[in-house]
Symmetry: C2
Subunit: 223 residues, 2 copies
DNA sequence: CTCTATTTTATCAAAATTTATCAAAAAATG
DNA sequence: CATTTTTTGATAAATTTTGATAAAATAGAG
């Protein structure tokens, strides 16, 4: 099996969830096969890129036919690691923590919420997404008794790094980081950032850009 | 006047918010100047890339000195369009809508929340992030009376496209989309997606990847 | 005021990514 | 059953992005 023989670039990996999403939709609509050309038009990519992307994991397509939707979907599901069930905890039971805890999609794909932690006495003991919020003091013992794969960090910037230090020292290897900052983590720990502010700012950039390029005479003078 | 003469790639633009963040932190720590080498080490980039990135907007640095922190920060702030005040509305007053509405950082950078809309009778009339939730039926009139730059979409997948159609037909040009789907929008409308599921899945990919690659070969790579 | 150490800017080379092309395989057609 | 059409996978070409370095400019020391 050559599937994991050569390293696939992160550029390609970042597109995989989108493939997975579209294939899931196609399957839900009882569509059995799809060609790279059709999928490209659907997703707004080039057919060539799709073939190249998919082929970096193995030959899932068939010449003259295309790709079998459910087969390809299953393959990508496995490639994304979704054939495995992940245990996760959420740290920070604020609005963002709530939002994630109640995100149905995560559970459906096998990401199981095992605990929610906070330091605010008003939050501790309340139920968030079917689990009872515990105090951070209980985190270490909890992690030692439950194998936790992923920590979803929804805490303020000021404490993000400190909590990341804690959870990694307890052995957690994956962090989905909603705190608006970069984290320094030990080798072997994977961090994926969701930086809402950064996203908003690229939007404002594009809005401004559009305004300027559509104005005839920009009078931008600063010195 | 070469500043807006050649188009800057999205790859570079996506790094700007991060520069802005780091420069803000430096300024807060009363650091007046910084060289590309220092900033590179701080941010985990190469000095060369930083120089190239910054120079694509203009000569903010000074040879033999480096970059003046507050000057560069202001420049990037303007480049990101943050010299302008944006009016925004949130559609969907669920947990995610709440989370965004209470995000202090947005207001601080000049993104002003003007309204929150939903269809759930239980939510209408409640206060979210200092504004009262209105029914979607009031959206059109509200938008016509208040110039709204950005719509933050926090609604379920099923209604995302339909609501995007509405808001764009009312003249809104920018959408920050938290609904887990791609949106089709008229030309001139800018959409920035924040897809939490996609982020989680790239994390699970990397977790699995790491597991597999360390089973036989305990060599690790860093970026 | 001159000299040296820094550090940007501009340029070029290298690496990575995307797109295009095409032979080979499979399916569809008649 | 031969022929045409479709479509992949592989390779090549084009484009974009990154990294390295020489040239130019500045600060600071003496």
């Amino acid at each position: 099996m050559h599937r994991f023989s050569k390293k696939v670039s992160m550029t390609v990996v970042k597109r995989l969830p989108k493939y997975y999403q579209y294939l899931t939709d196609l399957q839900l609509n009882d569509i059995e096969k799809i060609s790279s050309r059709e999928l490209a038009s659907l997703m707004g990519l080039t057919a060539s890129q799709i073939r190249q992307d998919l082929n970096s994991f193995g030959g899932y397509g068939q010449q003259g036919y295309g790709y079998n939707v459910s087969e390809l979907r299953n393959a990508i599901k496995d490639i994304l690691g979704l054939d495995y069930e992940y245990s996760c905890i959420i740290i920070g039971a604020g609005n963002m923590g709530h939002a994630i805890a109640n995100y149905e999609r995560f559970r459906r794909e096998g990401i199981i919420l095992k605990g929610v932690f906070d330091v605010d006495p008003l939050r501790i003991g309340t139920v968030v997404g079917s689990v009872v919020v515990k105090h951070m003091d209980e985190l270490e013992e909890f992690v030692s008794q439950n194998e936790i794969d992923v920590c979803i960090l929804c805490v303020p910037r000021e404490v993000g790094q400190q909590i990341a230090n804690q959870v990694t020292s307890f052995g957690i290897q994956g962090i989905l980081n909603f705190s608006p900052m970069d984290l320094e983590v030990p080798k072997g720990v994977e961090v994926e950032n969701v930086n809402i502010t950064d996203s908003l700012f690229t939007l404002t950039y594009r809005l401004k850009d559009y305004k300027i390029s559509t104005e005839d005479n920009p009078e931008t003078s600063d010195d």
